[in-house]
Symmetry: C2
Subunit: 360 residues, 2 copies
């Protein structure tokens, strides 16, 4: 395949290894793996999960649920607070698959049921410290109220609790990540224990890649929903969650200008390709991506790190020291590891695998 | 039209007014308007420019040039440093339209001409202070070398100089913007004067929305290439370049959760919809978007500003004070003005006008 413009490369071997590793980890821990497909949004990558025996998935929107239902996924959790305005699409989907909705309020449920025609599962999202969405995990009066509404409606089934301990993404050490895991699981268990006698089938589901990657003890937990691990990225590597070798996607970007006098190399590859999440590295450097050397087999780490220092709509500017900058020529195609794989994959919309010439 | 999920609304009246205003401004200043279409990337919006007598455009990639050439645009400047790897697409395009390439080095031109089969115009990008790309405007030996290469090749025509004074985006006052304009135009004129005797038809082209919006004196300049003005956005408003009333796009985002205890409202609308550019407001607040009230006619400014304080992949979190938060209900659809219209429009990929039910 000839790379002539910004192209998202997918290392199939690394990606399948990440999938297999998590499938095995979940099997060993006797936890159901319900991978979050918002990271890859690809039928083909979904198939790679099927090949490892995974038969259910998580998505972040009703539209994304429809995309995967169209490929035969029939057990889907929409891990985003119920948007009852989409009730028509929800009815269509719930006809063809086991659909689990994420509930954070009674109001949305009341509105939903005015037009709901199909049975759906309701999982209550509890907030275990991230404070983005969800019912406070200790707010039992509110949880009681929601469960009571669900129990009294013939089309709704209470299926348990889910949480997203997203505070784990802001950590910079494995110790911090493990603490997030322990605290968050403890709160989930309290909620589970409180309602299990009445709802013996209720499930507890946890969700972020950092804790699911790092933790080994999942006792008391029924399900995990990590997503990012399928590709990993610089954000995960900086937190110690993965190694560079596990990062399964890289952008290929042609060099269009070189400015040795200010140690800058300009590539075609900007905010519309990478999206604009960035990292502050330990030395204070701002990083929008990290250089790798593309080879016939994929990519290799350089001897010392080189970062993308800024992005505009189509331009990426790399800070390249001497003597490395002397080795780069106009028209070279550089590999760049993304800061946040989910957003880069969404922005690009397609992948090219190293072994094929087509997109997935 | 029923708004049930994140939707990008386009106020046709405001947008057409922005286009007309600039078309008139350019006519009065006797400067050719070659609008940058990277902001809207839409055939329909392009047609609105045609209706105002505009017959040439600027794009930021060869792919985007192909998109507009397919709609009949036959005079296109690719204002991004030449990527010679795309020579095949360049040959195809240059067959059907007058194509102007942006040149920052001899190396790229040499490589291009190895496979070039069609005539193309070459405009040298000069750096007038932004230091992103371009030849230093005072580096005459390098400019001489590039012009000499162009002049000696039968398929290349030297057509002048272009600059993008992008440092204007980092300003916060009209005085600063005007200074950028004056300094940058002065450097352009020196370059123009130096080569005009030999190339009497050479054109000087300037490009950023802030200076083109604010300046009134364009004497000595032949062409302007602003793009963002077609929609404007919060970044431009904060710099004093536009008013809220001129911002022509807003995201419509359904409310999915409300947390009065921390004055937060969560909408469906995240980084994959807005992209992730943000502003630091004067009081230090981080802003990823600003609330407006959607009405049957478009949107209205609230009494006091309310900002999107953070974005994750699909979630937007608004910081809503009392008593405003009491007026918001789950299922309300909120309007949000984007920080950076170009990236939001690119992320969404389609618009819904206020007067139609279709996308453009």
């Amino acid at each position: 395949m000839k790379l002539v413009r910004p192209t998202l490369l997918l290392d199939e071997v690394k990606c399948k290894k990440n999938i297999r590793h998590f499938a095995e980890k979940a099997r060993k821990a006797q936890v159901k793996l319900r991978p979050h497909f918002k990271t890859h949004q690809s039928h083909m990558v979904g198939q790679w999960f099927r090949n490892e025996g995974i038969s259910c998935c998580t998505v972040s929107s009703v539209q994304m649920a429809a995309y995967f239902a169209a490929d035969g996924w029939d057990d889907i959790t929409v891990a985003f607070p119920l948007n009852y305005l989409e009730v028509e699409e929800i009815n269509r989907l719930a006809k063809v698959c086991k659909l689990t909705l994420c509930i954070v309020s009674v109001d949305a449920l009341k509105k939903l049921t005015e037009k709901l025609t199909q049975s759906v599962n309701c999982q209550i999202e509890v907030d275990t410290g991230y404070h983005r969405t969800g019912v406070d995990a200790r707010n039992f009066p509110l949880i009681d109220e929601i469960i009571s509404f669900i129990s009294n409606h013939p089309l709704l089934t209470f299926s348990g609790f889910l949480t997203h301990a997203g505070q784990s993404y802001a950590t910079r050490s494995l110790t911090e990540i493990l603490k997030v895991h322990t605290d968050s699981v403890a709160l989930m268990k309290i909620a589970g224990d409180r309602y299990r006698s009445k709802f013996p089938k209720l499930e507890l589901s946890i969700g972020d890649t950092p804790t699911c990657s790092v933790a080994t003890d999942f006792s008391g937990i029924d399900e995990m929903r990590p997503g990012n691990f399928v590709f990993y990225d610089l954000m995960q590597r900086v937190s110690g969650v993965c190694t560079s070798e596990q990062i399964a996607i890289a952008m290929a970007c042609p060099v269009v200008a070189i400015y040795p006098e200010r140690n800058e190399v300009v590539v075609h590859g900007g905010g519309v390709h990478f999206s604009k999440d960035f990292l502050k590295m330990e030395d204070g450097t701002i990083c929008f991506g990290e250089l790798v050397k593309l080879t016939s087999l994929g990519w290799e780490q350089p001897v010392r790190p080189v970062y993308v220092k800024s992005l505009s709509q189509e331009h990426g500017i790399l800070a390249v020291p001497d003597p490395e900058i002397q080795e780069i020529k106009i028209g070279d195609v550089l590999g760049i590891l993304p800061v946040h794989a989910c957003l880069t994959a969404d922005a690009m919309g397609e992948y090219f695998t190293l072994t094929s010439t087509g997109s997935v």
